[in-house]
Amino acid sequence: MTETAPRLRNTLREHRARFGLTQEQLAALVGVTRKTINTVETGRFVPSTLLALKLARALNTSVEGLFQLEP
């Protein structure tokens, strides 16, 4: 049986919406470009631990609250 690599799901968009932040505003809070927030939100880029921690802190949640492994 072949084992497939687990995918990372995120709830960044939902958390961002809860705070009423645009991608650009969140980017400014964590010190990256808007494109970076966009690529993370759409799952095209898996952020480093450092960025994940910064995002979690900016959105007042935990890293596990933002990112989950898809079953």
Binding site: E24, A27, A28, G31, V32, T33, R34, K35, T36, N38, T39, T42, R44, F45, P47, S48, L51
Partner: protein, 150 residues
Amino acid sequence: MSDVERMDAARDRLIYLSLAGFLVWQAGDVARQVFDLLGAPRALRVAAIVVGLLGAVAWACGLVLLRRWMRRLRANPSLVMALEDEVVRDARLRAFAVGFFATIGALAVVTVVGAFFPFSARLAGQLSILVAVSVSLSALLHFRRRIEVD
């Protein structure tokens, strides 16, 4: 639009300008060398030189503007952090990898073709540099454009 977004967009425009200038400059110079090899009419060689010079001027303008862009960046440490974030570094790394393999491919082609149709080492080197720079910059723009697709 914030300073970060403005400078990010400006960087892309500068890369486009540098790439276009470099391609025209080198294409003109390579064309001149090929015309020399083929003994083409003088008018064609002069045209290739003029085209190459125009490209060189555009490339030089791109370099000057890029230096100004970098000076503005260095003046503001928070901009450095945002504009050199991990997605930007990832795109750059992947673009260099693509450029590296394209250069190896170009060198292989030049070596094989050179076995049948001998040409100068300068032309071979120039073609390799042309491929290395143009493919790396094109790949960088491609990866950065892909980032923008929502």
